[in-house]
């Protein structure tokens, strides 16, 4: 159940729990009229360097109020998970929304890992771009895709990194960030604090099995 916090004047306000989440594909659709009024592609950067803020970049001044259901990210939460800094940008172009994530993760080594993810969706939920790269201190690279990570399952058949409700065509920004965080945390645990990430093959999809437990 979402709650709306009204301003003292009774207008505007925030919703603390946006349900249902707006998928990247839906965002691509919602952004179309905004692109029309500002004269082209635009972007929004969220939660930069530990502070909660949103920065829009438009080619021109919007002629009307900007109404875009961008998720509310909680930078503090990501700090607890081990992120030193994250930058999440959603770039809008006609028919497309592209998520660009860049982060520095404390894996217990002298030098943090750098993590870069790009995921683009069109209005139909099709992906034109999907890459997930982790770089260790000596330049070692682990490269995979969000799609492959979503196929990874536990022995029980449950998704290892995705939520039960996540489907690849309808991924939302918060969902992608959650998948990224779970994967990077798990990788850090697997490698141990004394080792840097070594090159390894991309996460291999495993045959899906019907979920057994309750949706998370």
């Amino acid at each position: 159940m979402s709650r709306r916090y009204l301003s003292p004047g009774g207008g505007g306000g925030f919703v603390d729990n946006r349900e249902p989440k707006t998928s990247l594909a839906q965002l691509a659709e919602v952004a179309a009229p905004i692109m029309e009024q500002v004269g082209g592609p635009f972007s929004v950067r969220l939660a930069v360097a530990g502070e909660s803020r949103a920065i829009f970049k438009f080619p021109g001044v919007p002629g009307q109020p900007v109404d875009l259901p961008i998720p509310a990210l909680e930078p503090e939460k990501y700090g607890i998970d081990g992120w030193l800094s994250i930058s999440t940008t959603v770039e809008f172009s006609p028919g497309n929304a592209r998520l660009v994530f860049m982060g520095r993760f404390n894996a217990g080594e002298k030098v943090p890992w750098t993590v870069e993810v790009q995921l683009a969706k069109d209005t139909a939920g099709e992906s034109g771009e999907d890459s997930f790269v982790i770089r260790g201190r000596d330049g070692t690279v682990d490269a995979t895709t969000i799609f492959d990570i979503m196929q990874v399952r536990l022995r029980s058949g449950d998704p290892k990194y995705a939520r039960f409700s996540d489907t690849y065509p309808t991924l939302d920004v918060e969902g992608v960030l959650a998948i990224i965080t779970r994967y990077v945390k798990d990788m850090a645990e697997r490698k141990g604090s004394a080792q840097s990430p070594e090159p390894q093959p991309a996460a291999q999809p495993q045959p899906p099995a019907p979920p057994e437990g309750p949706a998370q």
């Binding site: 925030f14 500002v38 929004v44 949103a54 970049k57 438009f58 001044v61 109020p65 900007v66 961008i70």
Partner: protein
Amino acid sequence: MASTVNGTPIMEAKLADLLEPAKSLLKNYSLAQLVQRQFYTDGEGDAFFVELDSSVPSSGFEILFPELAKEDILVEGWRHIHFSLVLELKRVGLVIEGHYVKEPVPVDVSFRLVQGSSGYVEDSVELNDTRPGGYHERLSFRDILDAKLKSGDPKYAGPDDVYGEMDLTRIFKVFGRFLRDWTMRHKFIEKD
């Protein structure tokens, strides 16, 4: 977008006139600060930025910014310029930053004028000639308005310009006049 205040175009309004509209806009969207920045360059890359101090309001947001023609802002000499209006519940700031060149003088420029409920609460102008050994100066907009010719007439201000009572267009004009003169006066770098 609100580009007028009570029917007056924002560029013809005083900073003080923006206090109430800014307050009401921020309250409507539960924001403490809204930064609106127009960036112009003499090349490619013009952009308009909106920075929210928290998450994006679920009901969307509107802005309070003047309709600016690029040629009015990027007057001769500016290589690039940021023109910002910083809205807060009790303050409105006008910030101009950029790089200005009048051969042979290249200057980094920073201008900041913040209106509070009882007048300007911040007033700073900083100019930095970027040539090696170039002159660096800090002053205020009040200093610029107070500058006089030998005759006693204001050097940069017009007869009707009063500190704290000028609209944005006049502030721009007076500052532009000062900037041109500053580059002329610092054409030559003195060597010890």
